[in-house]
Amino acid sequence: MNEAPTVEPIVVIDDDYAMRFSCRKILLKAGYIVEDFEDGASGLEAIAALKPSLVLVDLKMPGMSGMEVIARLHEIDSRIICIVITGYATIDTAVEAMKSGAYDFLPKPFSPDELRIIVKRGLERRRLAMLAHRHELERELFRRRFVTFVSHQLQSPLVAVHQYLDVLKHLGDAPGAAAKREEWLERCLRRTEELQTLIRDWLTLSRIERDFLSLHRVPLDVCEIVRHVIQGVELLASGDEIRMEARLPEDPCIVTGDRECVTVLLENLVTNAIKYNRPGGSVTVSVERLNSELAIAVEDTGCGIPEESQPFLFEEFFRVKQDGARKTSGNGLGLAISKRIVSEMGGTIGVRSQPGAGATFTVLLPEYHQREATGTYEQDEDHSDR
């Protein structure tokens, strides 16, 4: 928002030479590029070529009227800001002009300051309109691509299953197929499970977004949930020979939130740390007090996350490309869900990682201090929820 944007071209159309001359002088001095014309026809011709940001046009001119100029210049480019110059006698017409798309009007006579202010305001309006338009386009593009992407993710497992069944049907008892039948049916089952998980995660994601405020938010001990989650993944961890470790304070660490959501959050981080680890590695979950916050850190000894992938980790469906690493299952929604849970709880989530040296995911959540009697807490919370 500069005082005088230097590259904004302005066109002045007025049959009165003195008026043109003074507008031009004032605006040039304010740093604009100015072209002036004595009639509508030559003005429009120049507008088509110059594509100015703003046009000042007199309403009463011989030949083409100011009204006609406004209509035609918006055919050329609807984003050009048009300001009408008019004498008192034609104020009704000025109102008409504004109805037909002029941005504002400037009654004659006017001071240099009045001209500068109205031009500046007009250009600011144009800047905001163009910005809004661009954001709208970007959002629309994102939305379109996103819908396409989600439907692709949902279709892939269905396509694979359909194809297995179709080929089995076509090959009948041909030698190639009979040997494959068992294995293929097994794979079909796995892909349908994958689809079910995807749909479930997708629903979780939208549920958190839609309903979180109406979910029951109660004081929860994070340490207790960490212990519970670690117990739950024991089998998965031992299968991959991963050692689990918890470093937790003695006393409870309280946050307020929905128990199920906090469990999902920690489960996601801990299972990722196991899945993206190396055999024989370890996962360490720690909870620490930092001022008024609790820092929950999940550290693994896996292959790390490439720096260029880190900014996209928490986006829906993003998956890290891993060279030579074992193929891991996952639909790219886990961390997106985690991030949404954390931000709904007023916290933040981040990652620190160096390729080859593991990764540490850290969640910061506001700690709930039980200063007031615990008995009254839930009651208060209920009121504030309404």
Partner: protein, 134 residues
């Protein structure tokens, strides 16, 4: 006796590739598989396939459109028939990216999953394998 024809499948869905390969092999083709565009291009240059079946959306960075363009720029691969198989654009009407845009100089487009009998028919048509066996 005809030389066995080679088909290269570029697709990142291992299950889809598995069933398609077995089906093509059962029709006497030799099948090569690449799970992303880069790998597909490398394999195409090394093995001179007679036909390529190309997925469009792949998890890796190089997608089908890009790979097709690169193949068309390679004088040795320029005339290899390319079949695009994609679930994204199953409705032919919404298949917006046009060959004249230079991106999709493919020979056939089929939705995914394809009608496998129809796929074999189209492959035979392009390779002249059916006429040869008559």
């Amino acid at each position: 006796m005809n030389k066995t024809k080679t088909i290269l499948i570029v697709d990142d869905d291992g299950d889809f590739v598995e069933s398609l390969s077995v089906y093509l092999e059962s029709h006497g083709f030799r099948v090569l598989v690449a799970d992303d565009g880069d790998e597909g291009l490398k394999l195409a240059r090394m093995e001179d396939p007679d036909l390529v079946i190309m997925d469009i959306v792949m998890n890796e960075r190089t997608e089908g459109f890009f790979t097709i363009r690169e193949m068309r720029r390679d004088s040795r691969l320029r005339d290899v028939p390319i079949f695009v198989l994609s679930s994204l654009y199953s409705d032919g009407g919404s298949f917006r990216i046009q060959p004249e845009a230079g991106w999709l100089a493919h020979d056939e487009f089929m939705p995914k999953p394809p009608d496998v009998a129809e796929l074999i028919r189209k492959i035979d048509e392009h390779l002249g394998t059916r006429e040869a066996s008559k």
